[in-house]
Subunit: 156 residues, 2 copies
């Protein structure tokens, strides 16, 4: 198996193709992971969710991590890790343009709406709560890619 | 699609079947996610890695989160989240019994060794560094399961 660090452009291309990952937030030093759908735009990830633990935590501490991977086989996989900062696109005039942008990007991924809605139903809301749109400002991206050929690092 | 909260026993059974997940640790409020292999035993997850950012961070702040999922289709999936505390099974007599236990449990998962070794090679170590064995004391487990029938929560 051959493993290589991905170049910045390769990480960006990978995120643009992916729409599913895991987001970690933290409160009082306790991290918490949730699966998310996202849309990548240069320097940002856009997401949508319903109110819950994740949103409460990110309002207090906006530092987050998103990880996305694609595993084709044990020796052929890609994993990208993003460090970033959460920004809620709140229901104010200030954010209306960014909210519309997020909505138009995210509406193409229908399963996303289902997942967010389902989470709210599980938590016992009679009526679906207001959606929460957010964007993550990307501050750092790193990635590793494994393949059976073509990488500069050989594993004996 | 029907979604239900999993009972505690169901979460435990799921973790016992799974061996792959994502671990989040945090330093100075910044979470960080890495893919991991693990072995579940009652109340603990056992893991193995090579020195790196993840280990440095968990030595400072042992609070971690592990998430594992199984996605069969968009409307049939399981996701379990564990909150816990990292404990390094260091190279001391005190930990020799637990280290041996971890090693015997983990050696059955060969891909794990490859992944840990690969990470060390990518970071440029000429010789493989000493492995780091650890266990995670589970303090909380929650899980959601989606299916097309049989769940008490219906999503309209």
């Amino acid at each position: 198996m051959l493993i290589s660090k991905m170049k910045s452009e390769e990480c960006h291309e990978f995120l643009a193709r992916q729409g599913v990952g895991r987001l970690a937030c933290a409160r009082d030093s306790q991290p918490y992971i949730v699966p998310i759908y996202f849309v990548y735009e240069p320097d940002h990830l856009y997401g949508f969710t319903t109110p819950g633990r994740k949103v409460e935590w990110m309002r207090v501490n906006p530092l987050v991590c998103v990880q996305a991977d694609e595993v084709l086989s044990q020796d052929k996989w890609t994993s990208v890790v993003v460090l970033g900062r959460y920004e809620e696109l709140s229901e104010t005039r200030e954010y209306s343009e960014e909210r519309n942008k997020a909505q138009s990007l995210l509406v193409k991924r229908t399963s996303w709406w289902v997942t967010a809605y389902v989470a709210s139903v599980v938590r016992g809301h009679a009526e679906p709560p207001l959606p929460v749109f957010y964007r993550i400002h990307i501050t750092d991206i790193t990635g590793l890619r494994a393949s059976t050929k073509g990488s500069p690092v050989r594993v004996r």
